[in-house]
Subunit: 307 residues, 2 copies
């Protein structure tokens, strides 16, 4: 029920995903049963391979996350997160109120022991082909070096097991190439990352390198990452508006990636863009399946086990 | 003598600027006199309207600023800054070692009393026409709210008196529109800026708004500003490479703006891009004249007088 175009986008996207996902994958639709059934009927689509979990409440996009979760126990987000916690879902994805998704995940399935701060990510397509991952992109505006260090581990696991990049190279987003450049945070983080064996650290990268093949995982605080991401979106819009989308620039379309997992929590949770189109929802469901197959939470648990 | 293509770019640019600047403006060339004279001769250009101040040393682009300034008292940067201090120049501009320019300015002409941290700026062209100013873009990686507050004043003075924008609107670069969004720095800064009468604060702006007409002066810490600027440069390059530069995207070309003033110091100092072409040098000299005409240091002194 969440997202600017819910539930229409969600239902259309789920139907598209159904056609592409393996038959043994069940898509569980959490929401208003009457609306769901009537939308399927309208489209003449079959509910085979779907399950419906009926909910009666909706958390609006502008609602205060914690308050909304408490006051609406029967909202699709609250119910979805709780099904995930109870092991009745392998992954929960929503384009709804992202604060509520975040808080819901943190308070029910919780962080994996050892993980200081879970993180959300984004894809930055490289001009030379392939994708880069950047994290955090918005939920951790103030961080310390040890948190950035952990983001490198979380991002590396996602890059390796979901994106299929072997021994992913980690770059620290900074304002100079040399190790002594940066702000207090990045200078201290660089020192911490140097010579680590926990991931493949390749040094500082700069704003100018964001679309180059200098590394696979770009680590930064959530303030900088959010600004970087929104600036890239602004450029994408400027280019799209002019009809200049070539093969490369087209890859900046958020619809292709579906959403961001919350890395570092005890389950597979994916947050989609509020404006998610059916195509974005379809890709969010495909990413969900990849997350489940890769079993990222187990990999994170293992990585943080001795830390 | 400073810059990746010095002194050729510098001399070519100065000759171009000479043709466009008023006759009573004297361009002082600080550098190796023999080289300067021979380059002018090669081009068959006249030295009318120029003065030469002969120097014998050059600070390289990779040299340590403080050390280089101390060890090379007869470098073009050291001599230029000292001529400015002695009132023998109205403005000093260089595309050389920017750290040395910065340190030279700070230690000889110094900050204006009351200014906690001088700042460097960049232009972000707006799609709707006109330019936005962003500061700081790299020399203040760690700042406190009162420093951002001062950047708003410095940027407003430049926007008004050099860019010709009346009552410039100041936006705080942030990761959400609402006043409670952000990191510790921006939340505290927003509170400080709200209801100020020192400048025209219009609230938070996000990465997606950087090229929109939401404000005229964008204030941020130098870490974020540097990443924003370099990301924009990366996009400009990607677009230029594809031959997609239309009227709007062409305005991202750094050559058009010549360089950034150091705002908040006791004199007019302009730092150019290391890769400055003749066109960039020409525009740096034109900006120098505009800075002198606007008398920014005096305006800053007045603004900070009672603070």
């Amino acid at each position: 029920m969440g997202g600017d175009f819910a539930p229409q986008s969600q239902i259309d996207g789920a139907i598209e995903a159904r056609a592409e996902l393996p038959a043994d994958v069940v898509i569980v639709l959490v929401g208003d049963e009457k609306i769901i059934r009537s939308k399927f009927e309208e489209k003449g689509a079959s509910l085979d391979g779907f399950e419906i979990v009926a909910t009666t409440e909706v958390i609006g996009m502008g609602e205060h996350p914690t308050r909304a979760l408490r006051q609406k126990p029967n909202s699709s987000i609250t119910v979805g997160v709780s099904l995930l916690k109870d092991g009745k879902l392998d992954c929960f994805a929503s384009a709804g109120n992202s604060g509520a998704m975040m808080v819901g995940a943190m308070y029910s399935i919780r962080s994996i022991p050892g993980v200081i701060r879970p993180s959300i990510t984004s894809i930055l397509p490289k001009e030379s082909g392939g994708d880069g991952l950047i994290l955090d992109v918005g939920i951790n505006a103030d961080v310390k070096p040890d948190v950035l260090y952990q983001f490198a581990i979380l991002g590396s696991l996602f890059a390796e097991h979901v994106m299929g990049i072997e021994n992913p190279r980690v770059g620290l987003l900074n304002i100079g190439e040399e190790k002594e450049k940066g702000n207090l945070l990045t200078i201290a983080t660089h020192r911490m990352m140097t010579d680590t064996t926990d991931f493949n650290f390749v040094g500082n990268i700069e704003g100018r390198d964001l679309f180059e093949d200098k590394c696979d995982v770009i680590v930064c605080d959530g303030f900088t990452g959010n600004v970087v991401l929104k600036e890239a979106e602004a450029f994408y819009k400027l280019i799209a508006k002019r009809g200049m989308l070539d093969d490369y620039f087209s890859r900046f379309n958020y619809e292709l990636y579906g959403g961001t997992p919350i890395l570092g929590v005890n389950g597979n949770v994916i947050i989609g863009h509020g404006i998610s189109s059916p195509k974005a929802v379809k890709n969010m469901l495909k990413l969900s399946m990849e997350m489940v197959e890769a079993d990222i939470p187990e990999k994170v648990k293992f990585a943080f086990r001795y830390k």
